[in-house]
């Protein structure tokens, strides 16, 4: 992957640089060629102009008409003399004067010219023997470029030029200057034609030179760019990639920070430092998460132990007396709960039953629950077998529970003592849900004395009630987890449904064992709640007096 990145990045950058350089070369060549063309032409024009001016000095402007004849008119000697001076001038110039000639234009549009004096370079005579000197008076047609140049002269220009043709192919230039009389009239025109090196050759030479240098420069620049690219881009990126790959696998800080090996202030440096920060924070986060997870696991395992402790506080031996059939369940909504049930024999005749519900749920409820369970069990156990003693035991437990109860945890309790010999059932309800009593197979809510719950008012008084159980009668104790079991529609199972379920014709409490009845109620509640999550601890205890 790194290799591919390197290749593609290098290729892209190098291609871009090369393209830019090629474009620059083109621009340089283009601008250069224009300048060179101008310079070359200027140079030739200047030389030709100089020659033309020299040639003019030999002329007498007033004798132009004579020069324009073949024999020299009135001044044949003078014309011959000029001819030879001009020839010398042409011969002397090794730089390539081809022709010097004197003309007069004819016609409004200078469409024709009449030749006066003409000299040519000897080399031209050898190469072009047919190019005989135009004898004086010869008339020829003039080209467009020439006519334009003549017009410029007549408009007052000091000189005019004709590059033939405009560019590239042709190889000579003609400079035209006027011959003026004293009256400032243009009597004739002196044209000097010079050989010119082919412009294309000059420009090509220039272009090759530029391209040559550009190639060299290109090589150097590409090398430098490649080097810089590796040094400042590819190697850092490689280092970053390597570090990220390492971190992804190891999730630990490296020995040296990325920001220390990549000391750059640009974006790559920032990236390196950002990765350092990210790694540090990730590692911190991982450490933190590990700690939290460990702590959570610890809490969970402690909760599991607490659950076992709590469950072990519940009586497990249900066959304590042959006269009674007992069954009970406790389903905590969380690991530990605030409900409990308890039953135990007090003496040869009496058995105590306690069911309680601590406000709230979870650990705070569980702590209060264990306190309440021990206090109630002990006070009831030591209470004498006399009227009012049970209520007194409950009030002792209440007093103890009130002490230091700053968090106002309260407990609702139903505590009862059954004399298995006589069937007398004495009970105290401290703010708890009223149990259901089954007499002759029909359930009804137990009439209860109104007492407040335990744990809040240490001066609270408790009243006890009693009734007589007959053979086959039973009492169902429960906590509000049963009546307040909630279904998905947020409806409660409720006391009416509970009563109806127990009195449904399919149930005959007389024939059901305690365990069967508990299972039945539990199933009824489960059928009502269905998929809704259990919201509260659910506890039931059923005793059947046999």
């Amino acid at each position: 992957m790194i290799k591919a990145l390197k290749t593609s990045l290098s290729v892209q950058v190098l291609t871009s640089v090369a393209l830019v350089l090629v474009f620059l070369c083109y621009v340089i060549v283009y601008i250069g060629s224009r300048e060179i063309t101008k310079a070359v032409i200027d140079q030739y024009v200047e030389a030709a102009y100089h020659t033309a001016r020299t040639a003019r000095t030999y002329l007498n402007p007033d004798h132009i008409a004579d020069y324009l004849t073949a024999d020299g008119g009135n001044h044949p000697e003078e014309r011959r003399q000029i001819q030879s001076e001009w020839q010398r001038l042409a011969n002397r110039d090794s730089q390539g004067v081809l022709m010097i000639y004197l003309i007069q234009t004819e016609g409004e549009d200078y469409g024709r010219i009449r030749f006066g004096l003409t000299v040519v370079h000897p080399s031209l005579l050898e190469d072009y023997p047919e190019m005989v000197l135009y004898p004086g008076g010869t008339v020829a047609k003039s080209g467009d470029a020439q006519r334009k140049a003549y017009a410029e002269i007549y408009q007052g220009a000091k000189y005019a030029m004709v590059v033939q043709p405009q560019q590239w192919e042709e190889d000579h230039i003609t400079v035209v200057i006027p011959v003026k009389t004293k009256e400032d009239r243009v009597a004739g025109l002196i044209c000097v034609q010079r050989k010119m090196e082919k412009l294309r050759t000059v420009i090509y030479r220039h272009a090759y030179k530029v391209l040559g240098w550009a190639m060299l420069l290109l090589a150097v620049i590409l090398y430098l760019v490649l080097w810089g690219l590796r040094r400042w881009l590819l190697n850092p990126i490689k280092a970053v990639t390597k570090e990220i790959s390492r971190f992804a696998v190891k999730n630990s800080l490296s020995e040296s920070k990325l920001g220390e090996s990549i000391r750059m202030s640009n974006e790559i440096g920032q990236l390196a430092r950002a990765i350092d920060t990210m790694e540090e924070q990730t590692v911190d986060y991982i450490i933190n998460l590990t700690q939290v997870t460990r702590k959570q696991e610890q809490v969970q395992s402690e909760l599991n132990v607490a659950r076992n402790i709590q469950l072990s506080m519940l009586p497990t031996n249900f066959a304590i007396r042959s006269e009674i059939d007992i069954a009970a369940i406790m389903d905590a909504a969380k690991e530990v709960g605030g409900d409990f049930y308890n039953f135990y024999t007090i003496d040869e005749n009496r058995v105590a039953f306690i069911i309680a519900d601590v406000s709230g749920k979870g650990v705070p409820a569980a702590l209060t629950m264990s306190k309440a369970q021990i206090l109630l069990a002990n006070f009831i156990y030591i209470a004498p077998d006399e009227p009012g003693a049970l209520a007194e035991a409950v009030s002792y437990a209440n007093f103890q529970l009130c002490r230091g109860n700053d968090s106002l945890m309260f407990v609702t309790v139903f505590a009862g003592v059954l004399n298995v010999r006589t069937g007398k059932f004495t009970y105290v309800n401290a703010g708890h849900n009223p149990p259901l009593i089954s007499r002759g197979g029909v359930f009804e809510y137990l009439p209860i004395a109104q007492n407040g719950f335990l744990g809040i008012d240490d001066k609270a008084k408790f009243k006890e009630d009693s009734l007589s159980l007959l053979q086959g009668d039973g009492i169902l104790f429960y906590t509000d987890g049963v009546t307040e079991a909630e279904n998905c529609e947020h409806e409660f199972f409720g006391e009416v449904r509970l009563l109806d379920a127990l009195n449904a014709h399919v149930v005959n409490a007389k024939n059901l064992s305690a365990q069967e009845l508990i299972d039945y109620v539990k199933n009824q509640v489960a059928a009502f709640v269905r998929t809704a999550p259990q919201s509260d601890d659910l506890t039931m205890m059923y005793i059947r007096y046999l």
């Binding site: 601590v358 749920k361 945890m409 609702t412 719950f453 809040i456 008012d457 919201s535």
Partner: protein, 100 residues
């Protein structure tokens, strides 16, 4: 289901109207709201017209409220039958009376 508490103050008497459920989770909101509202108040009325359900944790929350209010006068109005029943069973009216 959650709990909505609206607050109105008339002079030194505070009326908190509860809508929804007062249970283990929502009772914490009630605790905060009560503590924040009770400063300078001499009398508190809890309007339970919109309260559908109260759990034992909710009752504990009311006890704490009463305790934090220095056992000043708190009363409950417009409680529904379910809540009245809970109060009856637990004798909670000994602590905070329901009126009406």
């Amino acid at each position: 289901m959650s709990l909505e508490i609206t607050k109105s103050v008339e002079g030194t008497s505070l009326i908190l109207t509860l809508n929804g459920r007062l249970d283990t989770i929502t009772s914490q909101e009630f605790d905060k709201e009560f503590a924040a509202s009770v400063l300078g108040v001499k009398e508190v009325t809890l309007d339970f017209a919109g309260l559908e359900y109260i759990s034992s944790a909710g009752l504990r929350s009311l006890l704490k409220a009463k305790r934090s209010f220095g056992d000043g006068p708190i009363k409950i109005i417009h409680a529904n039958e379910v809540i009245k029943n809970v109060f009856a069973i637990s004798h909670f009216s000994d602590h905070i009376p329901i009126e009406g």
